[in-house]
Each structure stands twice: as structure tokens, then as C-alpha cells.
């Protein structure tokens, strides 16, 4: 008789395998299609190997425009969201005020709302208040509304561990507020600020829902992908997906190698 431990081990093993097959098989199919000569994106029938879809993708000027827009939007989202997150986290961790909990609820509310609502309300606000119709600026504002919330939570997690006696000592020695902020508070928060900036950039780069309603006739990369996938589907999109996958895997490998090197150093 097989012991129940073996059965359990087998069950866990097969679950893990199934889970990752489920996670990765669709991505494998998607990449394979990028190299099939067939003009309709499909895995089978296999009509021959080609790099042509990458050429088609790179020749599409719309894609390059969308990519540049994505970088512009993401850059401004970082510039706006990280300072907002920093200011809000300082306010919430350093000062004790009565309405703190309800204030906190307002600040995290954009994180718990569907993105399209943020996109729509931002669009309506800028249209009504400043007669500014949808474009890159409204997209930046819509994304920053909720990305600031992520930045705040990340920075707060570190700010809570801050030892105030350092600041008090500096004040006692005659340091100005500016000096204390630049030489003590900011360096302590630096790792969290870097993580927040990276997260803000990637969140912005990925965002579809909020951007769709706010951006008007402009396009970021996800909006471009969306419009392409909804109209005429070409394997060029698979080529794009393939590039995304390659970049992600390279990033993961580089990160892992660097982490191991760090671990050895210690």
C-alpha cells in the first residue's frame, strides 16, 4: 500500500505542474504564432517559419508613436505620483489627527475602484473645469490618481519604521528642516522611493482601463494594442507579445542573478 504522504506529495506535485502549465501554455502558444507565416494568428496549421511579423510590427509608425506616448505618460506619472505618495505618507505617519481614518479611506479609495470610473471622472473633470478634452495630460492625471495611492502605501510601509530620534538629534544640533529632510528623511526612504517609482512606471505602462476613457484620440501602447486586437488581428501583435515576454524573462533572470550575487557578497 502507498502511504498517504506519497499520495499527498503526488497531488501537490501534479497541482503545481498543472498550475504552471495553465499559466504559461497560453504564452507559449502566443509566441509560437509570431513565427508562423499564416496571416491569421493561429498555431495550427503551421505554414512555415518567418520573422516577417516582427518586420511588420517595426514598420508600423503608429506603434512607435504609441510607444513614445507610453514613455511620456509613464515619465510624468512617476514625477507626479511619487511626490504625492511621499507627502501623503509623511502626513499620515507623522501627524496624529482625528479624521485620520476617514482621510485614509479617501486616499486609498481610487485603488478599490474600477479603472474605467477613474478614467471617466478625470475626463469629465478636465473637460468641465478647464475645457481640456481627452489627451495625454488627462491620461497622466487619471493614472496618477490611483498610482499615487500605491506609492503612498509603499512609502508608508517604510516610513512607519523610521526612528524619529535621529531627526530630533539633528534639530538639537541646529539643523534646518530642509537639511533634516534632505540628509535624514529622504535617504532613509530612498529604497521605498525607488521601488515606488519603478512600480509607478510599470503600472502606467500597463494601464488600459483608466487610460481608455481619458486619453481621447491619442494612443499609448496598451490603447494601440487594444485597437489593433479589436479590429484587424494580425500576428504582428503576437510578435509584440513575444518581445514583451522576452523582455520580462530577461529582466527576471538579470534580477535573480543580481540577487544571488548580493546574497553571496553578504
Amino acid at each position: 500500500m502507498i502511504s498517504s504522504r506519497v499520495v499527498l506529495k503526488l497531488a501537490i506535485g501534479s497541482y503545481l505542474v498543472l498550475f504552471f502549465v495553465y499559466l504559461f501554455l497560453p504564452l507559449v502558444f502566443m509566441s509560437v504564432v509570431a513565427f508562423n507565416t499564416s496571416t491569421i494568428p493561429q498555431v495550427t496549421p503551421w505554414e512555415g517559419f518567418t520573422f516577417n511579423w516582427f518586420r511588420v510590427l517595426f514598420a508600423d509608425s503608429q506603434m512607435w508613436d504609441a510607444l513614445i506616448n507610453s514613455f511620456i505618460v509613464a515619465f510624468f506619472v512617476v514625477i507626479i505620483s511619487v511626490p504625492i505618495g511621499l507627502a501623503a505618507s509623511l502626513l499620515l505617519t507623522r501627524l496624529q489627527f482625528k479624521a485620520r481614518n476617514s482621510f485614509y479611506a479617501i486616499l486609498v479609495s481610487p485603488l478599490l475602484m474600477p479603472g474605467i470610473i477613474i478614467g471617466i471622472s478625470t475626463f469629465l473633470f478636465w473637460d468641465k473645469a478647464f475645457h481640456l478634452s481627452g489627451g495625454l495630460w488627462t491620461a497622466i492625471m487619471a493614472q496618477s490618481t490611483f498610482i499615487s495611492g500605491y506609492c503612498m502605501l509603499l512609502i508608508m510601509a517604510r516610513a512607519q519604521r523610521f526612528n524619529k530620534t535621529q531627526e530630533d538629534a539633528a534639530f538639537d544640533l541646529g539643523a534646518t528642516h530642509r537639511q533634516v529632510f534632505l540628509k535624514i528623511t529622504l535617504p532613509f526612504l530612498k529604497p521605498a522611493l525607488i521601488t515606488a517609482a519603478a512600480l509607478a512606471f510599470m503600472q502606467s505602462f500597463e494601464n488600459y482601463n483608466s487610460t481608455l476613457f481619458a486619453i481621447g484620440f491619442e494612443q499609448t501602447l496598451p490603447i494601440y494594442i487594444g485597437s489593433k486586437l479589436r479590429s484587424f488581428i494580425s500576428p504582428a501583435m503576437n510578435a509584440l507579445a513575444c518581445i514583451f515576454i522576452l523582455i520580462t524573462i530577461t529582466g527576471a533572470v538579470v534580477y535573480e542573478v543580481m540577487r544571488r550575487r548580493e546574497a553571496i557578497k553578504r
Binding site: 497541482y15 503545481l16 495553465y22 499559466l23 497560453p26 504564452l27 502558444f29 504564432v33 493561429q42 498555431v43 495550427t44 504625492i84 507627502a87 501623503a88 509623511l90 507623522r94 501627524l95 485614509y104 479617501i106 486616499l107 486609498v108 481610487p110 478599490l112 475602484m113 474600477p114 474605467i116 470610473i117 471617466i120 471622472s121 478625470t122 469629465l124 473633470f125 468641465k128 473645469a129 492625471m141 496618477s144 490618481t145 499615487s148 502605501l153 531627526e167 528642516h177 530642509r178 500597463e206 488600459y208 482601463n209 501602447l221 494594442i225 487594444g226 486586437l229 488581428i233 501583435m237 509584440l240 507579445a241 514583451f244 515576454i245 520580462t248 524573462i249 529582466g251 527576471a252 535573480e256
Partner: protein, 297 residues
């Protein structure tokens, strides 16, 4: 109040605290509150031709909200969106619970980081492309149909995209990580000794999970469900890419409203969607007895 002001100035200086208040104020007022208020204002005004806006006809009305009750198609779609989002949430919970537990309490060392990286890689690939991958699998000439035809299980391709199934599957796949990480975070802080003790005393695995792991992971379950439900109910990419005319989603009605420039109707339906998410959040908080602080961790 005076003490608070003194404390603020002592810590940040007058200029510093003004800068902080200005920055946070801009966020709260110009990005969170005013846009919501303007959307509410739009939602209570009738849809009028441009020249009549601000005229005698432009009074507050409940008309835009009443459409949800009078238009049968919209009502059916709205209710469908609710239950389909619940199915997505529950399915994601069942799919993700074991892997989260494994990651939090069983996997160690190299295997742990391998699983973590394996989970994160699909997450960094655009949501639209992840959903598109399922289009390749589920379409008429897709991988699944081709496979079933080849092994002679079916004679003709099955239209998997006809009902809501494809949209639901695509969503579970796209939002899986938003369930895994909250669950993992909550389970990670559980003391392994508790599990071992229960095991030594002869408790079965289901009992251990029911009485120890699940109660401990409550905040994580609540957060995972809230995030997944919110993403599913608010998803527009999945129904746009995977859906067929018969699987319309509530967000698509909102999108159509904006395409036809009926911002008032769109605003009202956005409020309905926001209300739905709020109700879901509060009921999860009640069911799992967690507060907002635990949720936003």
C-alpha cells in the same frame, strides 16, 4: 488643533508642511473628490443637445438611473455582470488558494524563488495580450478546437466564445495574481508551529485549513476577492476581446454611452458600477470582519 499645528511646524517647518498639504490637497481635491463630484453632477442631468445645456430643460433628474430599470437589455447585462464577476472571484480563489499556501508555508529556497518568478512573469505581460492568448486558444480555428478535432472527439469546431464562458476564463487567467499575492501575504505571517501542532494532534489537512489557515488568512482572502471582483466587474478588455455579441458586459454599455457622446448616461452607469463595488467591499469587510487598514496593506 493648535497642538497639531505646532507639531506639524516643529517636524516639517512652515514651508515644509505647506508643501505637504499643497501636494496632498491637489491629489485629494483635483484628482479624487472633484472628478467624482462632477461625474455625479453629470449623472443627475438629462442628456441634451449642446445648445440646451444650462437652459430651462437642464434640471436634476433621476432619469439616467431609471434607465437601468426600464431598459431590459441593460438590466439583464448588469445582473449578468454581477454573477459572472462573482464566478470569476470564486474560481480565482479556489485556483489560487493551494499555490498561495504552498508558496507561503511549504516551498523553500531555490524552489520558492522559482515559483515566485514564475508567478510574476505573466503579470508583467500586458493584460490585453494575456487575454488575447485565450482568443488564440478558444476561437473557432483555435488551439483547443484543433486539438479536439485531431483526436476525433468532435466532428465540427465548437464555438467556445458564444456564451460567457470564454470571458470568465480569460478574466480568471488575467487576474490570478491579484488573488495570489494578498493570500500569500496573509498566510506568510502564520506560525508554522501552529500547523505542525495541529498535525501532531491528529488533525486532518482539511481540518487544519478550515480551523487554522483560513481564519488566519481572512484579511488576505477579503483583499483578494475585493481586487478580483473589482477588476472583473470593471474589466473592459476581456469582454471586448473574448466576448461575442451575446456576452456583453456592463462596462461595454458605459463605453457605448461615451462613444455616442451620452456622457450623462455613462456617468450614471459609472456611479452604478462604483456603487456595486462599494457594496461588495463592505460586505466582504463584514463577512471577514476586517477593516480598511488590513485591506490596504
Amino acid at each position: 488643533m493648535r497642538k497639531l499645528r505646532q507639531d506639524a511646524i516643529r517636524q516639517f517647518g512652515t514651508f515644509g508642511i505647506l508643501l505637504i498639504l499643497g501636494t496632498v490637497g491637489f491629489w485629494v481635491i483635483c484628482m479624487i473628490l472633484l472628478p467624482q463630484l462632477i461625474m455625479i453632477d453629470y449623472s443627475f442631468r438629462p442628456f441634451l443637445p449642446l445648445r440646451e445645456i444650462g437652459g430651462p430643460e437642464d434640471n436634476y433628474t433621476l432619469k439616467n438611473y431609471m434607465v437601468l430599470f426600464t431598459n431590459e437589455f441593460h438590466r439583464i447585462i448588469f445582473i449578468k455582470t454581477i454573477w459572472a464577476s462573482v464566478i470569476v472571484t470564486v474560481t480565482a480563489l479556489f485556483v489560487c488558494y493551494p499555490i498561495s499556501f504552498y508558496l507561503a508555508k511549504v516551498a523553500k529556497g531555490a524552489r520558492f524563488s522559482l515559483i515566485l518568478v514564475g508567478l510574476i512573469i505573466p503579470y508583467w505581460i500586458n493584460e490585453l495580450l494575456r487575454i488575447f492568448a485565450w482568443q488564440l486558444i478558444l476561437s473557432d480555428a483555435g488551439v483547443l478546437n484543433q486539438f479536439l478535432l485531431t483526436i476525433n472527439i468532435i466532428a465540427d469546431p465548437i464555438n467556445f466564445r458564444a456564451g460567457n464562458g470564454a470571458v470568465i476564463m480569460g478574466m480568471v487567467y488575467a487576474y490570478i495574481l491579484f488573488m495570489v499575492f494578498p493570500l500569500y501575504n496573509a498566510m506568510e505571517s502564520l506560525d508554522r508551529n501552529q500547523i505542525d501542532a495541529a498535525h501532531d494532534l491528529g488533525a486532518s489537512w482539511p481540518r487544519i485549513h478550515w480551523h487554522i489557515v483560513i481564519p488566519h488568512a481572512k484579511p488576505g482572502i477579503a483583499v483578494g476577492c475585493i481586487m478580483t471582483f473589482m477588476l472583473a466587474a470593471g474589466s473592459i478588455a476581456a469582454p471586448q476581446l473574448l466576448g461575442s455579441p451575446s456576452s456583453f458586459w456592463f462596462t461595454q454599455i458605459i463605453y457605448t454611452n461615451f462613444e455616442t457622446a451620452n456622457w450623462n448616461q455613462g456617468a450614471a452607469y459609472s456611479m452604478v458600477l462604483a456603487g456595486l463595488c462599494l457594496i461588495f467591499i463592505f460586505s466582504m469587510m463584514k463577512i471577514f470582519k476586517v477593516n480598511l487598514r488590513a485591506i490596504a496593506k
